[in-house]
Symmetry: D2
Subunit: 307 residues, 4 copies
């Protein structure tokens, strides 16, 4: 039950079987930091190439293929005073014939908005551009982790732009502090990676970003030996949930729904017909992201209806 204070020295832009930066045991806690999607740290300066650079991987002692890695998201805190977002809804999220008339930025220097982050007040405030009718729009902070997961099977190294059964760039705003996440273990040590913090984000990450920012992060790991899951799962106070990552959304929904049917039967002892009837009338879905190469759909069942 050790607590590790870990200061990253390098980052990865893929999730894969990279040399671990730290070995930890089930029950251990890690306190560390993450850079933002463009590789900028708490100073606001880029220190590593852009594209969701990952802190880690962390090698979890005893984790073997077929196990489930448990990650408790203990703390996710923006650690600098400003974050940024893109300004325009991504072209793939609107009707194709509506795209030509949208307010495309003249160039990349015009593409970003800047937000002031105030942890004490719990607010994000739009400070640039100044000339919209939103004025200094203030929104409540809701810090979440955009990209995290474990090394995939078969020697793959998967870009942190996308996601899959191993997790990755799911950009689901339900991944907040207090949530427990379950990942399938594909390689020895699981090799957990984490990064891409958002001060807050709308459903779908439809402008292609949340409010992107570096984080102070604390997480605790554990293992379920010999218990297999096929897709990331999670739970919070009110729900258990499963995560499907794929395109189109239809397929992401299929993955998440199937994983929940398995969980209700294997994890909660429901008979098949009972699981299906329960799902039919109580399921809820959240849209994780509809921007990344793989979209993310989340299938939720309220804990109050579980056996």
């Amino acid at each position: 039950m050790a607590t590790h204070h870990f200061t990253p020295t390098h980052y990865f832009n893929t999730i894969g079987s990279h040399p671990p930066v730290l070995h930890i045991a089930p029950g251990d806690t890690v306190i560390t930091t993450t850079v933002d999607a463009r590789g900028a740290d708490a100073s606001g300066q880029p220190i590593t190439p852009r594209g969701n650079p990952m802190t880690g991987p962390f090698y979890v002692e005893g984790a073997e293929p077929g196990d489930t890695l448990i990650v408790y998201l203990d703390r996710l805190t923006p650690n600098r005073p400003t974050g940024w977002s893109r300004k325009v809804v991504a072209a793939n999220v609107v009707d194709p014939e509506y795209v030509p008339g949208m307010p495309w930025p003249a160039d990349e220097s015009q593409a970003l908005a800047t937000w002031a982050i105030n942890n004490a007040a719990g607010t994000a405030t739009l400070i640039d551009p100044e000339d919209t009718r939103l004025g200094r729009l203030q929104l409540p902070l809701a810090p979440m982790v955009g990209c995290f997961g474990v090394a995939p099977a078969g020697g793959q190294a998967i870009s942190t732009a996308t996601s899959g059964p191993h997790g990755g760039n799911m950009d689901y705003r339900g991944f907040v502090a207090g949530v427990t996440v379950y990942f399938p273990v594909f390689v020895e040590g699981a090799l957990f990676h984490i990064g891409d913090g958002h001060a807050l984000q709308g459903d779908g990450e439809i402008v292609g970003t949340g409010i992107e920012i570096s984080f102070d992060v604390q997480f605790t790991v554990d293992l379920r030996k010999g218990q297999r899951c096929f897709w990331p799962r999670g739970e919070n106070n009110d729900y258990i949930f499963t995560v499907g990552n794929a395109r189109p959304l239809d397929q992401a929904t299929q993955h998440a729904t199937t994983e929940m049917l398995r969980w209700l039967q294997e994890g909660y002892g429901l008979d098949p017909v009972g699981a299906h009837i329960l799902m039919g009338q109580t399921v809820e879905y959240d849209l994780g992201n509809i921007y990344d190469p793989a979209y993310t759909m989340v299938c939720k069942i309220p804990k109050r209806v579980l056996p």
Copy 2:
């Protein structure tokens, strides 16, 4: 501001330019009933062929193409003691390779579950099958209308199995009493149809039904002359929302998102960049249905962030 008590004598299984059953004026209220998806009324007996039979159409005086029809859902109350649902998640909502192992009913007589409906207690209780581990699962009532809308353009008569810009079989569990809905008007009189009540439903209508039941219904209509919308819109106490109906979900999402961008600019005076920035960080999506020929995705903006 008349109140009409209307007793249906026949029903339609398409939404189209059928002869109106009643002429009403903007501001008028209608108190009527709907049969369930299989055509059974408050007696529980089928009185008209199955397939979401519609009450109506109601001709709204003064409604012309290019206007917006406003429908206030005043009251939606199940009017008999039992409802039914299908038991098994639809094959299109799970991974294709998971389909063969699912608990398919031997025949149609085994396909349905029965629920006791108690309006006073506000509950739906599973009474058949009796042999699942759910036992007598009790869920809170949340009555909603599955299929409603206006006659489409160009002389089309669209099956009540599906949906489109005219509304139709959207099966969105947000269409509850207290909600205001906006439909584009395509023909003189708008020709409003309503039916397919659900005592409650999970997101996505993934077993192909909610708890299907006949309803006592009360609604009030109004007009926005010369104000055009392209897709159904709505609002409740907390949100404004837009509805996209299409397959795949990606396209339903595109329709709803585009319609919200239009609404924020035309209806709330936001500049284009402001509308996009606001959407990006505050949008929420609900999955209406992922079962019908056209899927339904709902795009929501919290009223608290609107100008």
Copy 3:
């Protein structure tokens, strides 16, 4: 075996249970004309509202729900000297982020290209615009029918913009003279409609049109009593084929593939495993259209491998 010379006096923009314009018997031949997608006839002048106006419907004596209507496309001949096409690939057919940079016309008056049609030479020649590097591009005529089919079930009237199990706006360039087409019969008399001729078209109808033109048409009908199909089917000298109409293409492909599996087993006596093995190694697919509300995918099996 009568031959009917039919001169249309009015047209429909939906396919539905409209009053028939002519009663014909199985074995009869009809010689008639169709207007182009904008309602212009052999004179080049619009005579009816745009949107794929249909000639018909033709009532086929003895046709009942559950039968199959056979349509022999005997002759499809452009009957005026010029046709038109749209100039720019539709926004939904290219990468969303590529859309803003495309050569969108300033207005609708700039949207169309004009082609000279020479039946004797068998050519279509680009005559406007004159300033592209294509010059007077000359392509071989390959006349095909874009939209045809039978009245759908349940009193639906379906826009000629789209397609379904009843046929409709499939825009498949394999529907040329010499082809036999099979449609499911949903209503008494089948009610066959035909229109929307193209002098030629690329796969997918990706600019939203072929070379649109009015036609002289000759077709012959027949019936297969009591033999049911679920989707349009066809055959030419070399192939049998099935047609799936839906979005996305994935679902259109599923419909067409499933219909072919049924046909191989019910029509050609293959056992299930044999049908699947044969499909796996000999199937070919054609893309009908990827522009209309429902896309069209065609599943083909070479006649030389059939039992």
Copy 4:
């Protein structure tokens, strides 16, 4: 212009920046072998783990990111007397509700068919199962390469189950001997991989395999320095073509179409409007695969209409 005879000693199940097995120069020819999808070589015995094991990678001297690698497929010849295919159409290629009734094998040992391969006669003959109505179905050989490509960008190692801008498991039956293929270069040396030969295959690889077999392979490489492409391209005697890899098919089609629009303008000097008009009326599409995690659509333009 050297010719290298290369005998593989190990194989990779991802396409990535693996240590090269051979350095070759532009203009060089390689004569080598590939194992089948399950890792069996010319002896029919598995010699490496299954999952499309790749021969290579081959380091092409001088290749740098931003170049285009040219691969001439000189010879693709099955090198053993039998190949195998799966028997049943994949669940994702048929209507979901049709899946439960399909002839699923009792277990994996029942899942495969065996085919005798005769290079001299140019035939593949079904020899097991023996009890279908196909009997000893004989089909013409049409050897093609299922999976080949170059190391992707950013340190990714992508499973040979799937495909992307780097190529990979495209399973397009147009990749036969005599075809020239173009790949974007993402890393120094390009790192070309090749494997997964099929004696023949239907469109779409709908049973999840072609007739899988080990190959004798000969290919020749060249470079286009400083000429960039975004997706694989190719040409044969009659067509130039571009390849899009993604799900759903709609997106694969978007990628391929966009790449062809670029090629027509940058490679053939067409003005934008000319490129669009030409595409609209002359484009053809082939379905590569509709089974793998990423589907493959091929966009073709006949050489006879090119400037």
